[in-house]
């Protein structure tokens, strides 16, 4: 008989996310893992800019809202001066892979001892559905109305693959939140990342494939199917780096 209660760091009010938004689920998973680890008072959420910023009115733990793309830099300042804290940056794909690409790659390469949780839904949701660095080829957005054309916009960025080539990161994994198995795997992955951080072992990165019913113009349930047929084949879930496992 599984016991399941509402995570303590979630506000006692509905989230600001749209119906079926997996950002909301990702936030819930993080809060659940923090409960499991008893880290409620020790956690510090570095909130980025985009739909992720809706957590400003939803997150019940300590948080710092920072400039677009700069969460890994701010997290560096936090963690380096307060190494005992459980620090995680929660970022979307525009924040992390476009304006903040230098910050994420540099923080990962420095092996900063915090966790970055990357919600990848291939669009700029908050600003109305523009093309993001991870927008799929052919995907229609408000700035690629005929579908993303690599000839002028290049290709969707695979962040796990990129970061896993770096020496310093300890754990790099991607999960898809469009199925019960994916959700459970993601919960375990976030927990593992936090445990590696708490053990002081270095940089951890968890990419979560999420959705955007509003800007994909699909019903919540249809987005889950869209992810199976379009997102997951390109952004393959899995563990891309796990120095713990490699060591065994």
């Amino acid at each position: 008989m599984t016991e399941y209660s509402r995570a303590s760091l979630l506000a006692d009010a509905p989230s600001g996310y749209c119906p079926g938004c997996l950002h909301s689920l990702a936030t819930k998973l993080i809060a659940e893992v923090i409960d499991d680890l008893g880290q409620q008072d020790n956690s510090l959420n570095v909130i980025s800019v985009g739909c992720s910023a809706l957590n400003i009115l939803y997150w019940g733990g300590d948080f710092l809202s920072v400039a677009h793309g700069r969460a890994p830099a701010a997290a560096t300042g936090i963690k380096r001066t307060n190494p005992e804290r459980l620090v995680f940056a929660y970022q979307g794909d525009g924040d992390l892979a476009a304006i903040g690409l230098a910050e994420i790659m540099s923080a990962a390469n420095r092996g900063e001892n915090f966790t970055v949780i990357f919600a990848n839904n291939q669009t700029y949701g908050m600003t109305g559905g523009q093309m993001a660095p991870t927008t799929l080829i052919g995907q229609k957005t408000t700035t690629t109305v005929y579908g993303r054309d690599p000839a002028t916009t290049g290709y969707p960025l695979k962040m796990c693959e990129l970061i896993s080539t770096l020496e310093a990161p300890r754990y790099v994994a991607r999960f898809a939140l469009n199925s019960p198995k994916g959700v459970n795997d993601a919960r375990k992955g976030i927990k593992k990342a936090f445990e590696i951080q708490l053990a002081g072992k270095g940089f951890t990165f968890v990419e979560l494939l999420t959705n955007c019913p509003t800007n994909w113009k699909l019903s919540p349930l249809d987005t889950l199917e869209y992810m199976n047929t379009n997102t997951i084949p390109y952004f393959r879930p899995g563990v891309y780096k796990d120095t713990e496992a490699d060591a065994e």
Partner: protein, 72 residues
Amino acid sequence: MIEINPRYCKSCGYCIRFCPKKVLAMGDERNRRGYFYPVTANAGACISCGICASVCPEAAITLPGKGECDNG
């Protein structure tokens, strides 16, 4: 047995879709924000697996601990 807190529900339907025992169905009552929320149409079939609670983006579904109903 599961508990649904209509207040947080946004009618996305994930719990209904992934319940392995088809326990849940969309109800015909709306919460305060106008969303229809699910009801346990087939309560007897529930095996308390917790998948509904796990996939709910809004943490609207909870399962009380073993035996007594200790948390809301």
